[in-house]
Symmetry: C2
């Protein structure tokens, strides 16, 4: 297979060695020709279409790791078909987890990737030397005036990005327009006062038919980005909407646990929330930080941050964005942990820190500035 | 909360009683205001936005079931936001599985549901008194002529629906158009010969920007439906594409295992593959039959078939479509098991049955007709 471009997918198999070998062959057939081995005799199919089991080796926790090569053409240059090819049917089979993916340059070249990436977002903000501070406008149910005041005060306090909570969804376009205009105006007022460039990213969630209308309005309102839930909307839908309107794509992890949480099924954390999201054009990947109210491990967070920034063809790196349980006292550690190329998303902890939200924001911003961090996590 | 329309969501919690009570409150806050309890003091928020824990009761296998009521307005009449509301963030929390969903009529009325449903699809086919027989054109890599011959012979043998394999994705629109035209013409030739009405459903997978172009072409080519992977494309994207072009929506389960497979996480099988897919407009829900190469239980299959056909507002029932491991000898049992309102999807077993694919199809069609089945499974 040496002359062809290949996708190498590694699966973690909950099985003994014999069963792992059987499962590896099963994956190679199931994900391509989807026929039993005995029905596939055509040499061209066996050579060009059926996956090739490259190795089956012992892995952690008594499992085995199977590395399988697929012809890159089988992904048809599409994100949906790539996901389908590497994990579509076998997602339904117990004990098969997609652990790693190596994609050839020819396939990666079909994806524009993050439209802004770390450098582009820093250029928008004019901030180059420190991690970024973000917050969420919430909760849903608060009057537009109160939401606007939160956003305003965050900008006043020197925060970088204020986004809608992912539950902040309006009943219709007019309500969305009114709310977004009010919050955008509040942020603009604060920016005018401080000379800052705080960005406001509304949450885009609408019936499929209305997504582009919402996105176009956001851009026309002079805003530069949106919050999207790619695991809910579909990776490629999220990609296309942000890309078509030149908007920063801040990816929220809602529903991602379905892919990542089961230890023996699903898709590895960094792959699902880093690599695949960069293919989906995410500039920022929000994830739940270890130590917060969700139980993620330090290793998962490290892997995700790596996947956001490691080389991936010509695709720009994205910001990893840990969220949850970010108390101000933890910042020296957090900055050390994640390094400079990070967006810290602080929600409840910021609202709880000081009844004056601008003052709370300033305190967090200062905590971030106090960390003398280098470019890379230690 | 009696005067409002409520969504009742039931979660299965892997926890002891105290932890289950704590988790239930956590869900009620996390999925709505997404703030710690102590930060939410506004009586209007507590009354109208925060979820209400209705009960926490012992469930199977030492787990607890928590029933939580959400204001139906929080779903904003959107499928994406409904999924987000009932399972977005808590998908990332270990030990929380969405087990059941009761949706009020006012919310269900926002969804058109299956555009054809069981009655509409039967009307297209002119078949009213027996289960339907479907197959997949595969494998990928076969020349268009060979794929066309399979489809032709299936129609000749009296099959009802021939769909593309979900791995059958073309490099670009022109290749898609040529392939679909060839297969459609082959089916039309066979139909002309038999006087039958075998339907051909191409697989629609394209970059988001191209989905409508592909769908429009399918409809213009005189075809009546498509195969879609809603778990890959996004539920609402799949819904919108089929609906906009008046196409039957046959839903393939690729990637669904991410939602359904983990016992202590994810979304219950019937809910993910029945209820939510009907909201996504699926007319047929393909799933892996018990006894095949995937390990699904009879109970899961029963629950899915129920969810496809049970009352759900004014939404039409959808066909459950078991697939995999469907040997001809099992048909008396299968017909008995699933009842008349079923599409049986036979792939490899049909190709293996007889080298003459028309004869193989006729044999399977006859096996289905021989089953004297009533409307409901026993």
């Amino acid at each position: 297979m040496s002359s062809r471009d290949l996708i190498h997918a590694t699966y973690r198999l909950r099985a003994d060695r014999d069963e792992a070998r059987r499962l590896a062959r099963f994956i190679a057939y199931e994900q391509t020709v989807e026929l039993p081995e005995r029905l596939v005799t055509d040499p061209a199919l066996l050579r060009d279409v059926v996956g090739q089991v490259e190795s089956v080796e012992p892995a952690d926790d008594g499992c085995f790791a199977a590395r399988i090569a697929f012809d890159a053409g089988l992904a048809s240059g599409q994100l949906a078909q790539l996901v389908n090819l590497v994990y579509g049917n076998v997602s339904m089979y117990p004990g098969i987890r997609l652990q790693a993916l190596e994609l050839p340059g020819s396939l990666l070249a079909r994806f524009a990737g993050p439209g802004f990436g770390i450098a582009g977002l820093r250029a928008l903000l004019g901030v180059h030397d420190r991690p970024l501070l973000a917050t969420a406008v919430k909760p849903r149910g608060l009057a537009v005036e109160a939401l606007s005041k939160l956003a305003h005060d965050f900008a006043l306090g020197g925060g970088d990005i204020v986004k809608d909570d992912q539950n902040l969804v309006d009943p219709d376009f007019d309500a969305f327009r009114r709310r977004v205009e009010a919050i955008a105006a509040a942020v603009a007022r604060a920016n005018a006062r401080t000379g800052g460039r705080t960005l406001y990213f509304p949450h885009l969630s609408a019936r499929h038919e209305d997504l582009h209308r919402h996105a176009a309005f956001v851009r026309e309102a002079g805003l530069r980005g949106v919050l999207l839930c790619p695991h809910v909307l579909g990776f490629d839908t999220a990609r296309a909407v942000a890309q078509a309107h030149g908007l920063v794509h801040m990816a929220h992890p809602a529903l991602s646990g379905a892919l990542t949480q089961a230890g023996d099924n699903g898709i590895e954390f960094g792959l699902a929330m880093g690599t695949l999201l960069r293919l989906a054009g995410a500039d920022i990947s929000v994830f739940v930080a270890p130590g917060g109210r969700f139980r993620f491990s330090e290793a998962q967070a490290t892997r995700l941050a790596q996947a956001c920034t490691e080389p991936l063809g010509a695709l720009a790196p994205a910001f990893p964005c840990p969220a949850g349980g970010m108390d101000i006292t933890k910042f020296p550690h957090l900055c050390q942990r994640y390094g400079r190329e990070t967006v810290f998303l602080v929600g409840g902890a910021l609202q709880a820190h000081d009844p004056d939200f601008a003052r709370a924001t300033a305190a967090y911003r200062e905590a971030i500035e106090r960390c003398t961090v280098v470019g890379h996590p230690t």
